[in-house]
């Protein structure tokens, strides 16, 4: 067994060497012109310290409520949230009455009624967030040909390849926030100026954190003081982006707290169980050379 482990380590070392060399060789090749980058995003997103990261991560309810406000007042003008029902907003710390009132603030199409006609009514907690556009074609037509993605799962649907050896290290550091880091970086990346000589296609906006080109169709979505916070939280783009990203992580992974809490119990149980199993195994085998 020991020999196998040593050999495994040797194999890994060999692989590490080869791959590290490979990454270097790759990087040397891409040290191309600043104005014509070939790998995106141009800048790596900053790794943030999210409340929901790590084994004991939880959501900050006040932050989720602020994020919801940002989504409602800004993002929802173009981005749908089809998978999220109003009833689930009670997770954000709202009472039943508050959820009802929030839902009632939306108009939802229902029907057909007894006369066979579709009608509009105020939203109920059982309804889902209505979409800003009737369909994808309408969304594309209103946004220069690009459909603003549905935001329900965005925080899990984005993420960057971490490369070697980072992806191995990530297992031990439990890094699972590539999506939120990406969204946060993108929201804060609009103020950067493109390098001289770079061509920005008409109707697009430079953002060095965008993962598929030098620029994207979405213009800078939010500026300081655009959304009013009642609790005295600073009304900066940085704060807005952190709040809305946290909210998007919640919409993508509403059971995250439950998952991590359960996980801790499961891991502790299995650890104790493993120790007991090991001791039993030693006792059973104690009179047999093997």
């Amino acid at each position: 067994m020991k020999k196998i482990l040593i050999s495994l380590a040797a194999v890994s070392a060999l692989f590490v060497g080869a791959a590290a060399y490979a990454e270097e060789a790759g990087k040397a090749g891409e040290a191309s012109h600043e104005a014509n980058p070939t790998h995106f995003p141009i800048h790596e997103p900053k790794e943030m310290n999210w409340t929901f990261s790590g084994p004991f991560g939880t959501y900050d309810k006040a932050q989720l409520q602020r994020g919801l406000k940002v989504y409602k007042e800004v993002c929802s003008a173009c981005h749908s949230m089809k998978l999220v029902a109003f009833r689930t907003l009670s997770d954000l710390g709202y009472s039943e009455a508050q959820v009802k009132a929030f839902a009632a603030g939306y108009t939802v199409q229902d029907g057909p009624n007894d006369a066979g006609e579709m009608f509009e009514r105020p939203g109920l907690p059982s309804d889902y967030f209505p979409s800003p556009y009737p369909n994808d074609k309408a969304a594309a037509a209103a946004n220069g040909g690009a459909v603003p993605p549905d935001m329900s799962l965005l925080a899990k649907a984005r993420g960057l390849t971490r490369g070697f050896p980072q992806f191995v290290i990530d297992i031990f550091t439990q890094y699972a926030e590539s999506g939120p880091d990406y969204i946060h970086a993108l929201l804060n990346g609009y103020d950067e100026q493109p390098p001289s000589g770079m061509k920005i296609p008409e109707g697009t906006h430079y953002n060095p954190f965008f993962n598929a080109g030098v620029s994207l169709k979405m213009p800078k979505p939010i500026s300081a003081d655009q959304v009013t916070y009642d609790d005295g939280t600073p009304q900066t783009v940085e704060q807005y982006s952190e709040d809305v990203t946290t909210f998007l992580m919640w919409t993508a992974e509403p059971k995250l707290e439950d998952r991590k809490k359960t996980g801790f119990r499961v891991v502790i149980f299995l650890l104790l169980f493993a120790v007991l199993m090991y001791l039993t195994k030693r006792k059973v085998w104690s009179n047999v050379a093997h």
Binding site: D170, L270, A289
Partner: protein, 433 residues
């Protein structure tokens, strides 16, 4: 080992009544209690048990998921999200199932490499090995179809790319592809038949597992020395010895599994699969699940035409050939010595092969461009050379180390050298470890 005398004697009247009519308790007793296993098995021999519980776990979580899943292209993605959001513990079931597939493959790869290292595929265990290869093949089909079911971007485009391979086959290729897809492109009929097959195949796997275990119980287990069991002192009873060791290994394996389920459930997946499938929008980078990556690299290594075989067919042949190598492995290795422990050169090549396989996996995740292509080609060449050149030739020219006379001798020798404990009489060794 081989059909010895059954030592089962029912103690109760009911037991005797049963035994005379349908001796199922006898079968269980002989197979999992009294069954003799070599006393020197190390932890690499615990993956058989681990794989069994993974199969059961996948089937149980899968059946419950199927109660909530809808195999319709317009509803599939949403139904999976309903499971994640509204079904009680649905997130747990789904993460157990999706990560379970990965851990099933982690275990099977360790199991296969164990067999390679200790020569478990050699006579008289060829059939046991081939049955294992069939299970592996069925697992790949199951895993691939399961990945299509959530109907995300990678589901759709992975299915498009992989079923596209079949069009490379001359004459019947297009027909096979259309049969698989139920049409001319991946669409609702594809999703429906994949769901049906994804439900069916695990039970076929379970069937082949029964044959695999049956074959195992006829030949008996191989062991780290690769020497056949010769006397009773070479073995211990399955229960309690192997049972408790397997149980400990299972708990440790489950611990790692749980770490992924609860703390990084999406680490082994692809973010693009959280975007609903869009036939009009190709992802920048189509990659299969990690466990297919070495074969994906081999597929893309063939970038040139060979005579009448164009590069596409060549790639597909290379990929299927890579799997076929495993099937014919027992007849490629010419060495009479099983275990790499006594084969210095084989041991070296084995580890090179393992490193190469991991490297191929890494290359599989990279685009086929720049220096990655020659790297894929060299790695592919080594992969095939290992089976077609190294294994046949090495057996003829290699001088193996001196083999111990028996498992018992090997164990006692090791303990004497390892711990400095005086090895007791062969019948009553006092050492522990």
């Amino acid at each position: 080992m081989s059909e010895g005398h059954s030592t089962y004697s029912p103690k109760t009247g009911l037991g005797r009544w049963f035994d005379a009519r349908m001796p199922l308790p006898r079968l269980v007793y002989d197979s999992f209690v009294a069954y003799p296993v070599p006393r020197n098995l190390n932890y690499m021999w615990t993956f058989g048990g681990i794989l069994s519980i993974m199969l059961v776990s996948q089937i149980i979580t899968g059946i419950v998921l199927a109660m909530h899943y809808v195999s319709d292209t317009s509803l599939a993605f949403g139904s999976v999200e309903k499971i994640m959001r509204d079904v009680n513990s649905g997130w747990l079931l789904r993460y157990m199932h999706s990560n379970g597939a990965s851990f099933f493959f982690i275990a099977v790869y360790l199991h296969i490499f164990r067999g390679l290292y200790y020569g478990s595929y050699k006579a008289p265990r060829e059939l046991l090995w081939v049955l294992g290869c069939i299970i592996y093949l069925l697992m790949m089909a199951t895993g691939f179809m399961g990945y299509v079911l959530p109907w995300g971007q990678m589901s759709f485009w992975g299915a498009t790319v992989i079923t596209g391979f079949f069009t490379a086959i001359p004459l019947v290729g297009d027909w096979i592809q259309q049969l698989l897809l139920g049409g001319f492109a991946v669409d609702n009929p594809t999703l429906n038949r994949f769901f049906a097959l994804h439900y069916l195949l695990p039970f076929m796997i379970a069937g082949v597992v029964v044959l695999h275990v049956w074959a195992l119980h006829v030949t008996g287990q191989n062991n780290p020395t690769g020497i056949e069991v010769k006397s009773k002192t070479d073995t211990v009873a399955f229960t309690p010895y192997a049972t408790i060791k397997d149980a400990f290994a299972m708990v440790v394996f489950l611990l790692v599994f749980a770490y992924f389920i609860f703390y990084m459930p999406n680490y082994l997946g692809h973010p693009d699969n959280y975007t609903v499938a869009d036939p009009l929008k190709t992802p920048a980078h189509i990659v299969p699940e990690w466990y297919f990556l070495p074969f994906y690299a081999i597929l893309r290594a063939v970038t040139f035409n060979i005579g009448p075989i164009d590069s596409k067919l060549g790639g597909v042949l290379a990929m299927f050939g890579a799997i076929a190598m495993l099937f014919i492995l027992p007849w490629l290795d010419t060495s009479k010595v099983r275990s790499a422990v006594y084969r210095p050169w084989y041991k070296l090549f084995f580890w090179l092969f393992a490193a190469n396989a991991i490297f191929l996996g890494w290359l599989g995740s990279k685009p086929a461009e720049g220096w990655y292509i020659p790297a894929m080609q060299i790695s592919t060449l080594f992969y095939f050379a290992f089976f077609l050149v190294v294994l046949p030739v090495l057996g003829l020219i290699e001088t193996p180390r001196r083999l111990p006379n028996s498992i018992t001798e090997a164990v006692l020798e090791k303990n004497k050298a390892g711990s400095g404990h005086p090895a007791g009489a062969a019948a009553a060794p006092e050492t522990k470890g």
